[in-house]
Amino acid sequence: MDWGISIFYYLVTVVVVLVYGLFLYAFIAKTMARVQGRVGIPIYQPFLDIIQTYNKRTAVTHGVMFDLGPVFRLAGGLGTLAFIPVIYGSEVFGNFHFAGDLLLVMYFVFFGQLGMALGAGESGHPYASMGVSRGLAQMTAFEVPFALAVIAVFVQYDTASINEIVAAQQGSIYNWTLFTNPFAVVAAMFAFLGMSMYPPFDLVTAPNEIPIGPPTEYHGPYLSFLQTNRAIFAGAKLILFMNLFFGGATNLPVMMVKLWAIYMIPVLIGVAFPRFKVENSIRFFLGVPTLVGIMAVLYVQYWGT
């Protein structure tokens, strides 16, 4: 296919995922507010917030890396999304998938955090450094069950192409990885809890402890980049999990419902549990989730279909 058309389709995907991600965020915030007996934010509030921060009339910088931090973060989000087929079999939402895209996506998922760490480090704020060190430590820990789950998927489907993994899960709900290898899904969902920054794993940006971690010094346009990325990156991660474990999606409504359902898992756990210290969360991720991840690999290797 022509490159121009591919890039145009990709931009369409980015806009759809961005708008959906922002609405999803507002929808979840509103749901939680209703549970607490509040009215909650208007459904369009995230859009206003992004415009408001982008149009601050003054800004200060702390150096080149400080400027590049949000750019890396956004590049991480856009890069993750670029290589994941959002809707299986769709020409518009197919993106730039290729034979080994899962390996590249695995890298991109963590690329943004590393870039952000460099930028936040240059801001010179002590809370930013604390947030970065906690974030990277926690990331290293939850990457272990996540990597094990992905390895199990590699072995099970004998491919590193997300498109082929989705293709193998079509036909029946019982073909989903959720049913063919539940251990991998459990291990990956544990890792997802760590990624999604809800309690009990939200110490990195805990507003009432280290206000507010790495983005403490980020303001104005920098912050609007980070807000934009939060929607895109959350969408991209959810789509990745949907593709690997929950059968992918063949049309937009199915995708939206599945992403919402997956997103509700960390939200529901988040409203029920208090916050872990970072040493607690590292011990947690290296305990049961890692064991479940190892079981997932053993299961597909010796007992799986």
């Binding site: 009215v39 206003l48 415009i51 010094e217």
Partner: protein
């Protein structure tokens, strides 16, 4: 709620506050005389400059509407007022529905609430926090002590009038004002922002010399830069 509004008498701060010369800082570079030579190298010495509104008027009006509907609040709990701020986010008052949310860092906030009396020591921190906020920024003086000192009128170490030190956009009087009064104040601030009447950040820059002179008059140990970027 209407009764409360009537009793509140939300005041405009401009009446009676003596303005400076309106010329802005004397030079583009600040002296930073309060810092040692070594420290002067570490801080930015550029003077702040006022910003112009967006050029077609409808664009400025649009952004004012956005600013009014997305207020990020830095609550500076200097005194008893802090305890009235917390219930704003609870289900009884729910300030979230008006687009108001608390930010833990001055960099990201657009509204500074000085909640109650402020001692000289605290004033220094308030000034630092205010100057680190990025414009357009608005200041709410909460409680009678920010207007005329209130029950701290003859105290030796608190300031009496906040608007001699910072450009206050809105006062909410009371000792202490209840969260309903705060919400009414936020509504009034929204109305003023939408009407384009909140120009505090620019006033601060234009009357910079006057504000700095007032601040340095009460803060004897001035060991920070003249403008905290």
């Amino acid at each position: 709620m209407n009764d409360v509004n009537d009793k509140l008498k939300i005041k405009s701060p401009s009446a009676g506050s003596p303005p400076g010369d309106g010329k802005g800082p004397a030079s583009a570079q600040l002296e930073n005389a309060g810092l040692s030579l070594e420290e002067q190298q570490l801080f930015c010495d550029a003077a702040p400059v006022p910003y112009e509104p967006y050029s077609p008027e409808f664009l400025e009006r649009f952004h004012n509407w956005i600013r009014a509907n997305s207020m990020w609040v830095l609550a500076f709990g200097t005194g008893c007022g802090a305890i009235e701020l917390n219930p704003l986010m609870t289900s009884r008052f729910d300030a979230n529905r008006f687009g108001i949310q608390m930010r833990p860092t001055p960099r990201q906030a657009s509204v500074l609430i000085v909640a109650g009396y402020s001692s000289i020591k605290t004033l220094k921190r308030i000034i630092r926090s205010y100057e680190q906020m990025q414009g357009p920024k608005f200041v709410i003086g909460l409680g009678i002590c920010t207007i005329n000192g209130g029950m701290y009128w003859d105290s030796y170490n608190t300031i009496k009038r906040l608007d001699r030190y910072l450009p206050v956009d809105l006062y909410i009087t009371g000792c202490m004002p209840r969260p309903e009064a705060l919400l009414a104040g936020f509504m009034e601030l929204k109305r003023k922002i939408k009407a384009g009447e909140c120009d505090g950040a620019n006033r601060y820059v234009k009357d910079f010399e006057w504000y700095k002179a007032n601040q340095k008059k009460v803060i004897k140990k001035w060991d920070m830069p003249d403008y905290n970027w």
